[in-house]
């Protein structure tokens, strides 16, 4: 099954990249966009159909490698 791991910068962390994107969006007329935060979407193709087990393993993978807990939060999503 395909598992999504969404990684985003923690709220307390400034995202200059997101801010640069917001400025350009604003110059394109998207003035209603007040904040942009850029994250990562990691798609894992995982063997097995035990959802709990798959979730636990994806969680482990996120903690060990996919996200850096100092600056990032993550969320695991199953289909």
């Amino acid at each position: 099954m395909q598992v999504e791991v969404r990684v985003k910068l923690k709220e307390a962390v400034l995202d200059p990249q997101g801010e640069a994107i917001r400025r350009v969006l604003s110059s394109l007329g998207f003035e209603e966009v007040t904040q942009v935060r850029v994250g990562k979407l990691v798609l894992l193709e995982v063997e097995g159909d035990d959802c709990e087990r798959v979730r636990a393993r994806a969680d482990e993978a996120a903690r060990e490698l996919l996200a850096n807990p100092v600056i990032e939060d993550y969320e695991v999503r199953l289909p």
Binding site: V13, P16, Q17, L65, N68, V70, I71
Partner: protein
């Protein structure tokens, strides 16, 4: 230290994508060490007394700078070496790797300007009482090159406080006279952090490149003492 006239051995770890490894090897030799190239797949450090993690783009800096390299086979040996009090110097990407494996606190964000910055900066030496900094003078200002896009050191406020209380800041960005100022900070790094050192002073991570400044022909000798301290700690 030297035994029977033999030079202290320093392992220079080479990851796929390292690009300062040759400079690092040459610099270790220039300050009197025996430089030993160690491939990242190696599981041991070939009897070296100190380790240098050089700059570059290990694994293309995929995911995060240093994130993949942190899980290379050799890093288990590096961690064991560090845990036993062995000296480890991480330069630039090597510093990022040390943060990723948690040997030093915090993490690197993209530079505030979002740009890759390649130029000389000044850094003030904050500690000289520790093994990897003992060749320097208190308050000494070094002029060294930086070349990175992710050097904007970040940690949560509680961690920043702890880092300051512990005296873990080894080097800070400053102006040529040694004043630590916001406009002397090239990348947005908290507290102008340019380098961090472990409590025992045996693990040092820094964004500037001392290995590129060991000869006047190459723009200066301000990196010499730092490289020498690593060799003496081997």
């Amino acid at each position: 230290m030297t035994d029977g006239g033999r030079r202290p051995r320093v392992a220079v770890v080479i990851f796929p994508g390292s690009n300062c490894d040759r400079d690092a090897l040459a610099a270790v030799e220039a300050v009197g060490g025996e430089a030993v190239p160690v491939w990242h797949q190696s599981r041991d450090l070939q009897r070296c007394g100190a380790v240098l993690l050089p700059g570059g783009y290990s694994y293309g800096n995929y995911l995060r700078a240093g994130a993949m390299a942190a899980h290379s086979p050799v890093m288990k040996a590096v961690r064991r070496h560090a845990d036993q009090g062995g000296a480890v110097l991480g330069i630039c990407n090597g510093f990022q790797i040390l943060l990723e494996i948690g040997l030093l606190p915090g993490a690197m964000l993209m530079n505030r300007s979002l740009r890759f910055i390649c130029r000389d900066v000044h850094v003030r030496v904050e500690r000289t009482d520790l093994p990897l900094l003992r060749t320097l003078q208190p308050g000494q200002v070094l002029r060294l090159p930086i070349a990175h896009k992710e050097g904007n050191w970040f940690a949560e406020p509680a961690v920043v406080r702890e880092v300051e209380q512990q005296g873990a800041v080894a080097l800070r960005y400053c102006d040529p006279s040694g004043q630590v100022r916001a406009d002397a900070n090239p990348n947005g790094s908290l507290q102008n952090v340019a380098g961090l050192v472990s409590r025992e002073g045996t693990v040092l991570g820094m964004m500037p490149h001392p290995e590129r400044r060991i000869s006047r022909l190459l723009g200066g000798e301000d990196g010499w003492a730092l490289m020498r301290a690593l060799v003496e700690a081997a």
